[in-house]
């Protein structure tokens, strides 16, 4: 029988404050084949680990049982420690005395200690049956897929490309740039957004290691970390990308008016157009929904063909499917803006002079629908009173519970820009609940706004009304003065929150990434692993993981890129051996396991047995996630889970029922 070492951790007072650790150690000493049993304040610390390593060498230990916190915390650490001392890391058993005992039963120390004793006995029973295992190595593709060409996607792409990896940047829209391209100035520096963004856009387009696929979407994903096979659909532009020179003569002659998406529908463009003044690539695209020729499939119009000197219009262009192999993926698909027409009481969508923050951003931008002049949409007059209303759709249990994180700063910026554009001739009010200016330079920015005589009303309005003459008005109670104020603004800007992208459902299905309760993509750990999803090789960057501003998006993107480089730099990665394994002699070829595996990790292979060709299941180890469904489903018990065999689990059950210090304790 193998020699066992048992270590009971105090975890400071986390465990020892409830469990009588000395009693547990005494009990452990009495178990068969236990060469040494110790307790210590912090097993995961350097001296704690050294203690185990020394004992392995001195007592020739063949199994180690550590009764401590959840294996999710330090199992990796302890495995490394044990391996360093020459013992196979999979001959280690962790018993959870913290999450499963001291934290769950903190008000019953006596019974908690009894449970700790039971769990240690069970851990020893399993440890006896553990077998040594080895990690496997698999080679990886040194290519990366970045989904989403906003600031986060572009930053990640540039970092990855600079590191020498080949990057495929897929963007759904006709141009990269995302939300940031729509902004006028950025807080808190009031940098011109396009000025700091367009150089990056050009870098992306020019970088030899980046393949830019705009007007494209991911349609299928297969494979596993280091070896993903991705299908990308390149939607037709009906314009030859190589021939188009971006002169926009086609747009001038097209008769079909279409709401301009880049300007949030505040102006119109044509069925053939270039996405924005800063579009990269600067190539026209025809909208098949609006173009007369494409919609009715008739040989009509064709004015763009006549006008195009480069002969770049190609109505017969087909969608293209591109297959790529990548080692890692960065998801950077961004977020959307709350549709305030869902809050009917605020009049958005009903009254023209109630606009959203993103619409205001276009109004105030020189390349926007009014050439950068702040004008009321209803009558194109300069407003004398502008009011900003905060927290629209955010911090609201009826819509989105979370704080949108950028609403306050965006409004401060827009309020300051209003003052800068219109000078002393405008009164600017901000109706707020809390003013959140938390970042570097942010509270100073808030002060700057106050210095510019922007009035902050501490209270939110219940509703917004419009009188018969079209005059907007509303009442708001101000906590500061304790007065009920009536405001009659010419223009109202709603601080709509950032909400999860409507594509996240599709993205989740394609990449097997989950979403958190707020609807954004779920990170592996909210504190310590905010850049990774729970799926190996898939990383998260930007607002798709949670609403954030530009500095945070850039930081997260660079971080995600670094993690991808970590993963792929070595050219190969290690895989955990905790996978399912098929005993071919027991397999009947019934295919139940193949149909039940959620990771498509089981393949049927034809093999010769007894002179016949028989179908046998085989586990694709690299894709197996060790979930155990196949093990449970197999009718002939032909599949076993390494490190979690039936014998190991049943031994624990037996030990559980064997009773503790009191003899004859049943279950």
């Amino acid at each position: 029988m193998p020699k066992i070492g048992i270590y009971v951790c105090h975890c400071g007072l986390n465990i020892a404050g409830v469990v009588d650790v000395k009693r547990v150690v005494e009990y452990a000493k009495g178990l068969p084949d236990v060469a040494v049993a110790r307790n210590y304040t912090y097993m995961c610390s350097e001296p704690g680990q050294r203690m185990i390593q020394d004992d392995i060498k001195v007592h020739n230990l063949e199994r180690v049982v550590i009764a401590t916190c959840s294996p999710r915390m330090h199992e990796e650490t302890f495995r490394r420690a044990v391996a360093e001392a020459g013992l196979n890391p999979y001959l280690l058993e962790i018993v959870n005395l913290r999450e499963h005992v001291s934290w769950a039963h903190s008000d019953e120390p006596e019974r908690a200690t009894e449970k700790a004793i039971d769990l240690v006995r069970m851990g020893v029973a399993r440890a006896m049956l553990l077998e040594p295992l080895e990690k496997t190595r698999v080679s990886v593709e040194r290519n990366v897929l970045v989904v989403g060409g906003g600031i986060a996607g572009m930053q990640a792409s540039l970092d990855l490309a600079d590191a020498g990896l080949r990057v495929y940047l897929v963007e759904k829209a006709q141009s990269i740039g995302g939300r940031m391209a729509q902004l006028d100035k950025t807080f808190p520096t009031l940098d011109c957004s396009a000025c700091i963004l367009t150089p990056k856009m050009v870098d992306v387009a020019k970088h030899p290691n980046i393949t830019l696929l705009t007007n494209s979407e991911v349609t299928a994903v297969k494979g596993f970390v280091g070896n993903y096979e991705v299908s990308i659909l390149k939607k037709p532009r009906y314009v030859d990308e190589k021939a188009c020179v971006g002169c926009e003569l086609c747009t001038k002659v097209c008769p079909v008016k279409v709401p301009d998406e880049f300007n949030e529908g505040l102006s119109q463009t044509r069925a053939i157009s270039i996405y924005s003044p800063y579009a990269v690539p600067k190539v026209a695209t025809i909208s098949p929904k609006h173009c007369l020729r494409l919609r009715f499939n008739k040989d009509v119009c064709g004015k763009c063909v006549e006008a195009c000197e480069a002969k770049a219009i190609k109505f017969d262009q087909q969608p293209e499917t591109i297959q790529i192999k990548v080692g890692g993926v960065v998801l950077a698909v961004g977020s959307e803006v709350f549709d305030a027409s869902r809050m009917a009481e605020l009049g958005y969508g009903r009254y023209k002079n109630v606009v959203s923050n993103i619409e205001f951003e276009r109004i105030v931008n020189a390349s926007g629908p009014t050439g950068g002049k702040i004008l009321c949409p209803s009558n194109k007059q300069v407003p004398k009173n502008v009011v900003f209303v905060q927290c629209v759709g955010s911090r609201d249990k009826r819509f989105h519970e979370y704080c949108c994180r950028v609403g306050c700063m965006a409004t401060l910026k827009q309020a300051i820009l209003t003052r800068e554009h219109l000078g002393k001739d405008v009164n600017v009010y901000v109706c707020f609940n809390d003013m959140r200016a938390f970042g570097k330079g942010y509270d100073e920015f808030y002060r700057r706004a106050r210095d510019l005589d922007i009035n902050f009303v501490a209270g939110l309005p219940s509703d917004i009304r419009c009188d018969a003459k079209g005059g907007l008005h509303f009442d708001v109670y101000d906590k500061g003065t304790n007065k009920l104020l009536e405001l009659r603004p010419d223009l109202i800007v709603l601080a709509n929150g950032l909400v999860p992208n409507s594509d996240l459902g599709k993205i989740g299905e394609l990449f097997h990434v989950s979403r958190s309760a707020d609807g954004f993509l779920l990170e592996a750990h909210p504190k310590l692993r905010p850049l990774e999803s729970a799926v190996g090789g898939i990383f998260l960057a930007g607002a798709c993981q949670g609403p954030k501003d530009i500095p945070d998006a850039v930081a997260q993107a660079s971080g995600a890129a670094a993690k991808v480089v970590d993963l792929l730099a070595g050219g190969e990665i290690e895989l955990e051996p905790l996978k399912a394994v098929v005993d071919k002699d027991m397999c009947s070829g019934c295919r139940i396991c193949e149909s039940i595996c959620p990771f498509i990790a089981i393949e049927m292979k034809t093999e010769k047995a007894d002179g016949e060709e028989k179908l046998r299941a085989e586990v694709v180890e690299a894709m197996c996630q060790g979930c155990g469904l196949c093990v449970a489903a197999c009718p002939t018990s032909a599949i076993k889970m390494r490190h979690y065999t039936d014998e190991q689990v049943l031994a624990q059950v037996q030990a559980a029922c064997a009773g503790g210090e009191a003899k004859g304790g049943g279950c």
Binding site: M343, A344, E345, D463, R465, C466, D467, A468
Partner: protein
């Protein structure tokens, strides 16, 4: 189709026009009304005194409806509709307390039945009878009438309870007005309260709220205001003179119940619809409707 009907207190004791117009119009859609016998107050004023007793009173109304053997209960008063809806929700969520109420009801030989569906006149006509059938039954379309609707508070709020129409953008009463051929205008103060509840404690403030809304709507140049609750009818029609006096406005503005309007469009005689009982000068409105 037979439905039980609970009139509450105010309709039965003073707002007769509402009762008369419902009794005249509903049968024309093949709806037979079965009055509850020995009905009690729904509990609205008691909510402020003792919530348990108020829920008991509302549950008793539902139990009386159960006695008729019918599955639907029509409640034409907004406030009764709210009280009964809240009581139903309370009974469903609070096992211990609802048991006590069920016991008290049993002492009178009554059984609470949670599956009885509660209707208001608006959703009954709009959803159950259906706009199509309302339109079809119209014999004298009220063309040329420009009206404003006041649907009230307690049948559109609060949404989580499941109300008769959308809280921020109620459309059903407007669509019913259009179904009888008249025009219904939208206006900013549409969702403002008539103030009726304050008549129990702050009469001047109640009249001030009603007077303010009336003078604003009057200012829009519409031919009249359409209501569907006896409390709103009390404030805007019955007490119009006092309301006007409180805010210093001379009003003289027609206010009618929707069912009175519906009756006119169906060709029912004006007296049968209680139009002689309205205290507001509805003759102005009636003269616009072709003879």
């Amino acid at each position: 189709m037979k439905v039980a009907v609970f009139w509450g207190c105010r309709i039965l004791t003073s707002q007769y026009a509402y009762e008369m117009s419902v009794r005249e119009t509903f049968p024309r859609f093949k709806v037979e009304l079965a009055d509850l016998s020995e009905a009690n107050c729904c509990g609205d004023p008691v909510k402020s005194m003792n919530d348990f007793a108020a829920n008991y009173l509302a549950a008793r109304v539902v139990a009386l409806a159960n006695n008729t053997g019918l599955s639907d209960l029509l409640v034409p008063c907004n406030r009764c509709h709210f009280v009964i809806s809240e009581a139903k929700s309370f009974m469903a969520k609070n096992e211990k307390t609802s048991k006590k109420i069920v016991e008290i009801l049993k002492e009178e030989g009554l059984d609470y039945n949670p599956s009885i569906k509660i209707w208001h006149t608006i959703d009954f006509l709009h959803d159950f009878v259906g706009l199509k059938h309302v339109k079809k039954a119209v014999q004298k379309p009220l063309k040329g009438l420009k009206l404003a609707t006041h649907v009230g508070c307690q049948i559109v709020r609060y949404s989580e309870l499941g109300r008769v129409d959308d809280a921020e953008n109620p459309r059903k009463l407007d669509e019913l007005v259009r179904a009888v051929g008249a025009e219904s205008v939208d206006y900013a103060e549409k969702l403002d309260c008539c103030g009726a509840n304050l008549m129990l404690s702050h009469v001047d403030s109640a009249l001030s709220l009603a007077g303010t809304k009336l003078s604003i709507v009057h200012g829009y140049g519409v031919d009249g205001l359409v209501v569907s609750c006896p409390d709103c009818g009390l404030m805007f029609d019955y007490k119009q003179k006092d309301a006007g006096a409180t805010v210093g406005a001379k009003l003289g503005f027609p206010v009618v119940y929707y069912t009175q309007l519906l009756g006119l469009a169906l060709g029912v005689e004006q007296e049968k619809l209680g139009l002689h009982l309205n205290q507001s000068p509805v003759d102005k409105l009636l003269s616009k409707v072709s003879a």
